[in-house]
């Protein structure tokens, strides 16, 4: 099936089975291998991309469902800024990408694209608790998450005050009294 997609701000045409996973279309048909497959069951978040600004697992999305949507992948974060760093003649990194580099947020790097893309959908100046909740769908096995929080806080301008707070019991938010 011929489908027209908007990926990283560019119109792209692909000819794929409509139920082909968006993950596979990105990697195989569009050459965007920055989006990774960690599990194929929507658990690890390594395949996270933005569809119309919302984070989704691209291993669970059929390509036909994004035919009229805007898709952003890790490759689009840096490129979307369009600026080049003339000193090294390379595309300037997105602030989250720079922060992951500086703060040690990337180790083996396989969760990193999905983690950064998920972080890009967080609100401005998120608290540490908001970061924890927002990234709960992205597994990392290397870092213990601490340096990822540091990177997100540094990039998104979180207040230092909330940064070091111990985690609230996540179950607490599930208990509602009306």
């Amino acid at each position: 099936m011929k489908l027209a997609l908007t990926v990283n701000g560019k119109k792209r045409k692909v000819d794929v089975p409509p139920m082909k996973r968006l993950l596979d279309t990105l990697r195989e048909d569009l050459g965007l291998t920055g989006t990774k497959e960690g599990c194929g069951e929507g658990e690890c978040g390594a395949c996270t991309v933005l569809i119309d600004g919302e984070a989704v697992n691209s291993c669970l999305v059929p390509t036909l469902q994004v035919a009229r949507a805007e898709v952003v992948t890790i490759e689009g974060l840096a490129a979307s800024r369009g600026k080049r760093d003339n000193r090294v003649n390379r595309v300037k990194l997105h602030k989250l990408q720079s922060a992951f580099l500086e703060c040690g947020g990337a180790q083996c790097g396989i969760c990193t694209p999905g983690m950064i893309v998920a972080a890009a959908a967080l609100p401005k100046a998120p608290s540490r608790e908001e970061i924890r909740v927002g990234l709960a769908g992205n597994l990392c096995r290397c870092t213990g998450y601490m340096k990822i929080y540091d990177a997100v806080e540094s990039a998104l301008g979180s207040h230092k005050k909330s940064a070091k707070r111990a985690p609230r019991n996540p179950k607490a938010r599930a208990k509602v009294k009306a």
Binding site: G42, Q65, K177
Partner: protein, 279 residues
């Protein structure tokens, strides 16, 4: 082994009417279509190669199936959810937060944000997993499902919808198009006990409104504890007796995630949490 994309057929209706016609024709041919919403359950089974269906009906573009509205006032007021209402829609909706906060709570515990952004109420109901987090909430409230077909609509109380493990009264030519929930009165409590704090499959889920409770992951389908309710409505306040009644109504099993004994005990403990005895 993952299902090959080229072996999968999908129809993309532009309107609900067209969708219902496609369902009718497919059912008539004996080649039923599996409705596809956000894909968060369906693609997991496709990727694992455990889904039998090879023909799908893509609903994602149907705007008619979106939106949360509140109808009526006072006693008769109800929330109406389009079947494609996502969990994120539930979490963000001020109507849900105000009138059915346990649904917002349940929705915020379904997978990570990526899943909440795509998973839908209609999909959760249609997929019919006994561990589905939204079902106890819907079951404990007065919830009616609106099923549509080319012949028209019918309303089914959620309590009459399921007939067994992953089985329901929905005909192959029918679609869940909306969910109507009477705005409840009374204290609302939601507790999910899962395998971890996020991205977890439930071991026990409880939703409570006043005396009413509904339970997930403890039987082939979601369980509304009617006998327990009758006991409490009749003024019964003995905790042990209440727990005994609950124990009779649920049928948990051992599986790779937990044990029957644990599920039973935790369900009873949770009951003690929401219904303090002698009060």
């Amino acid at each position: 082994m993952r299902a090959a994309a080229e072996t999968l057929e999908v129809l993309s209706p532009r309107t609900l009417k067209e969708a219902l016609a496609m369902l009718r024709d497919a059912a008539a041919e004996g080649r039923p279509l599996t409705p596809l919403a956000g894909g968060t359950d369906l693609f997991v089974t496709l990727n694992a190669g455990t889904l039998q269906g090879r023909r799908f009906l893509d609903l994602w573009g149907l705007k008619e199936l979106r939106g949360i509205t509140k109808d009526g006032r006072g006693k008769q007021s109800a929330l109406r959810f389009g079947a494609l209402t996502t969990f994120t829609d539930c979490v963000r909706s001020s109507k849900v937060q105000k009138h059915l906060p346990i649904l917002a709570a349940a929705a915020s515990e379904v997978g990570g944000l990526q899943i909440q952004n795509r998973g839908t109420l209609g999909g959760n109901l249609g997929n019919a997993s006994p561990a589905a987090d939204s079902l106890p909430v819907l079951a404990v409230a007065d919830t009616t499902l609106i099923l549509a077909s080319s012949d028209g609509e019918r309303a089914i109380a959620l309590g009459d919808f399921y007939t067994g493990y992953r089985a329901s009264v929905r005909r192959p030519d029918e679609l869940i198009v909306a969910i109507e929930v009477v705005v409840p009165k009374g204290r609302q409590v939601f507790r999910k006990v899962g395998t971890r704090a996020a991205q977890a499959i439930s071991k026990v889920v409880m939703a409570a409104i006043g005396h009413r409770t509904a339970w997930g992951s403890v039987a082939p389908t979601v369980v509304r504890a009617h006998k327990l309710e009758a006991y409490l409505d009749g003024g019964g306040r003995d905790l042990a007796a209440a727990q005994q009644l609950l124990g009779d109504e649920i049928h948990p099993i051992d599986d790779i995630r937990s044990t029957a004994a644990y599920r039973l005990r935790v369900a009873k403990n949770l009951l003690a949490e929401v219904i303090p005895a002698n009060r």
